[in-house]
Each structure stands twice: as C-alpha cells, then as structure tokens.
C-alpha cells in the first residue's frame, strides 16, 4: 500500500532536503547570532573597557538578536515556503504530484508538516545558539555579567512565542504561495504585512495579524514578558485556519 501518510511524508522529505532554501532558514538565524556575538567581542576588545549593563541577556544579546529577528525571520520563512511551492510550479510538477498513487490530503499535510518541522528546527537551533552564546560569554568574558542573571524562562517563552508566530506566518505564506505563483506577490505581501504590523503593533486589532508576533518577540525579551497573550492564542488559531485554507487551495491546484 503506497497511499499512506508516512510514504507521502518520506517522499516530500526527500525532495525538501535537496532544497537549498532549507539551509537558509536553518542556518541564517544561527549565523546572525554568531555575528552579533562577534560584534560584542569586537566592541569589548576594541574599547578595552566594560560598560556594565543591568541584564546582558536582554540588553546586550537579546536586543541585537531580536532587532534583526523581527525583520528577518518572517522574510526567511516566506522565502522558504515559497521555495517549497516553487518546486512544484517549475515544469508544472503538480502533474507528477497529482498522478502519484497518494491522496492529495496525504501529500498536502506531509508538505505542511515538513514546513512546520523546518520552522521548529530553525527556532530550536537559534534558541540553542542564543543560550550557548550567553554561557560562552559567561565563561570567556565574566566581566560582561551573563552569569549573574537567570533569564532562561523569559528566553524560553520568547522563543516559544516566536515559534508560534513563525508557524502562523508559514501557513499564511503557504496559502499565498499556492494562490500566487509569482515570487514577487507572496514575498511582497509578507514585507508589506511586516511593516504594517510594526506600525499598528500597539493597536488592539494587531493581535490578529500574525506578523505582529515577530515584532512583539523583541518587546517580550526587553520587557521580560513570559506569559501567553491574546496574540499567541490568535496565532495558534491562525496556524489551523491557514492550513485549512491552504489545503483547499492545494486541492484546487489539481484542476489544470
């Protein structure tokens, strides 16, 4: 029996792992944290003095990292999701996909799961790199004071909420990429929404824009916010909602 979810998942995974964009999503955030680490060390070495900050986890590392993350991560996710769809657009490969002895539901949900798992691994890698960076600083540069603060809970919840936000963005982008073949539109919408979400971040309705979560991640780490808010619940609902919308669009793709 070939029509199983497991078979569909394995075949999609085989294709996806040969997609270079996956490494972009996985490695760029890690690389960014390492670059910020390098910058902190450079500042420290070049100035020769240590300016004491209250909580280096947030003021030093968190501030720089999340300033980049809220602008960069949603775009990385949008690019990655579009690349996953573009693989099928090229050569009209949907014709292969829809004549395989696998149901459309199995194919779609294996694709969606792979996208969500890639986002999960990307955030996990970034989370681990962030923590390791702080611990390495605490050992190599104790004068920075990382060892004096236990910020693990806030860091964990900030990354968890970022994961939820990025998962919602991934499903929204999946719907856009299934709807619009041209690269410009899904990425353009993603950039526009990102800018809009920053502009309206303080409004109540901003909680219903998934992209707001990326900006709020920066606020969370700075304000030591570790509780779930309406935005996070809304984003969880968005994951399910946009997954269903994407499934509907994917089924329609079969009608050439």
């Amino acid at each position: 029996m070939t029509d199983t979810y497991y078979t569909a998942f394995l075949s999609e995974q085989y294709k996806l792992l040969r997609n270079r964009q996956i490494f972009g999503l996985l490695l760029v955030p890690v690389l960014l944290i390492l670059l910020i680490d390098g910058y902190i060390v450079y500042e420290l070495v070049s100035s020769g003095t240590v300016s004491t900050v209250p909580n280096p986890w947030k003021v030093l590392l968190g501030r720089y990292v999340f300033q980049f993350f809220y602008l960069l991560y949603p775009l990385l996710v949008a690019l990655f999701v579009h690349a996953c769809c573009d693989v099928e657009y090229k050569n009209n490969n949907y014709k292969i996909l829809f004549t395989l002895p696998i149901s459309k539901a199995n194919i779609f949900f294996s694709k969606a799961l792979l996208i969500l798992l890639t986002v999960l691994f990307s955030v996990l890698l970034a989370y681990a790199t962030f923590l390791i960076s702080g611990y390495v600083f605490s050992i190599c540069y104790p004068e920075l004071g990382f060892q004096h603060y236990d910020y693990r809970a806030v860091i964990f919840y900030t990354f968890l909420k970022l994961l939820i936000t990025l998962s919602a963005i991934a499903m929204l982008q999946l719907a856009l990429s299934l709807l619009l073949r041209n690269f410009i539109y899904p990425i353009g919408v993603s950039m526009l929404m990102l800018v809009c979400s920053i502009m309206v971040a303080q409004k109540k309705f901003a909680d219903f824009i998934p992209y707001t979560g990326a900006y709020k991640a920066f606020a969370n780490i700075m304000n030591e916010q570790d509780s779930f808010e309406r935005l996070d619940y809304s984003n969880i609902a968005m994951i399910a909602l946009f997954m269903l919308i994407s499934f509907f669009l994917f089924r329609r793709k079969g009608q050439f």
């Binding site: 070939t2 029509d3 078979t7 394995l10 075949s11 085989y14 294709k15 040969r18 997609n19 270079r20 693989v87 090229k90 050569n91 009209n92 490969n93 014709k95 292969i96 829809f98 004549t99 395989l100 002895p101 696998i102 149901s103 079969g254 009608q255 050439f256």
Partner: protein, 301 residues
Amino acid sequence: MASISTHQLHFKIGSKTILNHIDLHVPDKSIYGYLGRNGAGKSTTIKLLLGLLQDHADAIFIQGHSLRSNPTAIHAQVGNLIEAPCYYTKLTVFENLKYLDIIHKKGNKRIDAVLEMVDLHREKKKKASALSMGMKQRLGIAMAIYHDPQLLILDEPLNGLDPQGIADMRNLFRQLHEQGKTIFLSSHILSELEKIATHIGIIENGTMIFQGTKNELLSRVERDVLLRTADPGHAAAALRILGFPVSDRDKDSLVVQVKDDQQFDQMIKCLVQQGVDIYAAESHSADLEQIFINLIAMSND
C-alpha cells in the same frame, strides 16, 4: 477487456464544449494512437483520463474501474507523460527516480534498469536541469515507466528527440507492448504512429470521427495502383465497365483506385481475362497523414 473506456465523456469550459460525448475504447495490450488537430481536445481527454481535470459524470473507466471512485489505485497502474516532461530540476536524474522509488518501492536495480532502457544511465548523476532537451524527454519517459505500469498515457512523447532518439523510443514502446502493456499515445509525428500503433482514434472539434484498428482505418481509404501495361486504353475501358475508377493514364501506364485486396485481385483477374498484358502493378497506400487530412476535411464538410 478495455484498458480505457469512456461512456459519453463530456467536458465544457464555460459555455464552450471541449469534448462532446466521447466513447473511447482502448483495447487491452494495444498501442492506441490518438490523433487530432491542435485544439481538437486531445490534451483535455488525456488530462481527464489522468484525473488532472475533474470528470463530474463518472464516465471514465481504467482497467474496468471507475477513475472517480479509485483514483489512487488507478494511478498506481498508470504511467504518464503529458506535453512537456515533468521532473525536479534540483534533483539529479537518479534522484528523480529515487523520489518515485520511495513511493513505489521497486529498488535501485529498477532505477538502473529503467535508465538503461531510456539510455540515460551515463547521465544518472547529472542534475536534471543540466540535461539537453532530448534527454529531459527521456527522463520524462523514464519517470512514466519507472513503476512498471500496465497502462502508459503519453502525450507527445517524441517531442524534442533526434531521429536516433525517436527510433529508440519506438523500439522501447514496441518492447513494452510485447510485455503486454497498453500504450495510449498522442503524437503529431504521424509517420511514427503509423509504424507502431495497432489502433487509432481521431478526434475533431471534441468529437470522435474514427476509432478502430489501424487496418480498419487504412481499408477505409482507396489506394492507388499504378499499372504498367501494353495497352492502357483497352485496360482502362475494361476496368471502367466493372466500375473501377481510373484516374490517370499515359501511353504505357494507368492509375486505378482499389478499396482492398479483394478488389485488387478482382482487377488483375479482369485484365487477364480481357487479354491485357500486365508488366507491373505497384500499390500505393495512402499514408496515415493523408488519411488523417482527408477525414478531418470530410468531417468539416
């Protein structure tokens, strides 16, 4: 049993009828050549047969099973190549087949065997995007036959192939046919279809205007017989009395139209009885291309 049968298959886009109540009958283990002009409805038929377009009336049966009710089971039995070949550009030739292998589980030996069959084994490590047009077409065919399907549905599979490639593919199709596979083939290269098809279907403006064996089609059309004789005038007069159309004549030959072998035999016997000396009789059958053009013209009249 029919490998493919459709019952009054009808398909419309908006108010435009693309297929008009088609009863397709593709016998098992046949090579069925599906002909039609551009826009006649060939590709639409093929997309419907593969489930890429929705047949709302449940009019398509593959190996006796309803396509609408058993799409995944039927897809396991069908290989296809529709218009341009589909493949993943970022994967190598081998990886493209390996991707299918994850689903069909035939093993690496099958991949190597199929690449050998389409003469792509030397390019197995090449990225699909780096292949030439003909090689891409071969890859498309390799992907279509990889899972050893009982039925192959191929739309213009000879596109982009050089003469050697066309000959190779012709041999491959014959080989698959000998193995008992059914091949449903649409192509504009009618001379190739004439060489390999056992059955022919012709569609025009969404309507089937002919369906049957290749011999039935060829026998529908009169063929010209060039007779070289000592007395063409006498021969022509004798043949006209018996109702044979004589279309051309010069001082030592004439052209007679006959419908089939029986008529040919009758004509020769008549001339012998009349004491006409026959030096040569050359039969020129109309080729598939001519028959196709005539049938299309007749259907439009």
